[in-house]
Amino acid sequence: MHRKILAIVPAFNEAENIGQVIETIKKEDPLIDILVVNDCSRDKTGALAESTGLATVINLPFNLGIGGAVQTGFKYAVRNGYDIAFQFDGDGQHLAAEIKKLIEPILRNEADVVIGSRFCEKHKGFRSTPLRRRGIKVFEILNSLLIRQRITDNTSGFRAYCTNAIHFLADNYPEDYPEPEAVLLLGKNGFTLKEVPVRMQERKQGNSSITGIRSGYYMIKVLLAVLVNAMRPRLVKDRNTG
């Protein structure tokens, strides 16, 4: 049975990368539909994505941040009946060659959510800076305690979701810096998570959105969000997977 698969590509000022990102996904698997969510970029990201003719483009009228942009993708996936959706960042740090690894566990019904992790295998590819790795470690310990499953790369945005997870996240995706929070949210609500080792690339052009003083804010904001989230009641009652 053929499954409808959607690549959600959030992009903010990624004019230099977006075209290539779209092409590499299509080259990897032409059956995958691509949705670019242009988060109110100030450059030509949206127009360039449209000009490839290979992707559907949503141009948001306001900048929502990565959470709101990716959630728009989930809403699109729900409305257009996709079976699987995966997030693939518009900055070129995710590798199209790894998509298959991400999606296969869902096709085989092994997991509801698959996270591409830079850390669950010995040194391979780009693995962020030492300071960031320390921050990522904090999330690993915290989230692993909270959902009783070891997730090594809580900040990875390279993730694939099954239909149920897509529906759930279309209504409940966190804002601002959503990745670590989403892991907790999904784990707590009974979705099965799985990590697969992937390589990532250092971004080719442009700058990361989290630098300097923002890193401190990022840690505090996300830690607060995760802890508060842990105190919230479950949103889904007794789900049966499959």
Partner: protein, 137 residues
């Protein structure tokens, strides 16, 4: 010293009653003129009434101070004032958070709809509205 001895403490009572009334009147005016929604003005009105009550019945402040163990009764008024300001600020944060949420959902909907509309336009390019739609009344 003689000036202090002759202070008529009734004056401050009149001033506070007047002040509270003017404040309540202002809020009511703003609601009446639809400058503030009732929902947002409730806390303002509530604390306006509290202050009116405190200024009409002066002994109440002493009683509150005694219950709370405040030695210097007028300090109680500052406590009440600070509680009032903080609760109104929290209420405002609540409202902004809700508005942010609504704006996010609306932005997403707008993006999705715009995209769908563009796709529809591209799929069937129609040359303007049909002719007879205007003649048929």
């Amino acid at each position: 010293m003689s000036i202090l001895k002759n202070i008529d403490t009734n004056i401050i009572q009149y001033v506070s009653i007047l002040g509270s009334l003017v404040f309540i009147g202002l809020i009511v005016m703003l609601i009446r003129n639809k400058k503030i929604k009732e929902e947002f003005a409730i806390l303002w009105l509530f604390f306006g009434l509290v202050f009116l009550f405190l200024s009409v019945w002066r002994g109440s402040l002493e009683i509150i101070a005694r219950i709370l163990g405040i030695a210097y009764a007028p300090a109680a008024i500052f406590l009440i004032l600070i509680i009032a300001i903080i609760s109104i600020l929290i209420h405002l944060s609540l409202i902004t958070s809700r508005l942010t949420d609504q704006a996010r959902i609306m932005t997403q909907e707008l993006g999705l709809l715009k995209m769908e509309m563009d796709a529809m336009k591209k799929a069937e390019p129609r040359p303007g509205p049909p002719e007879d739609s205007r003649t048929q009344g």
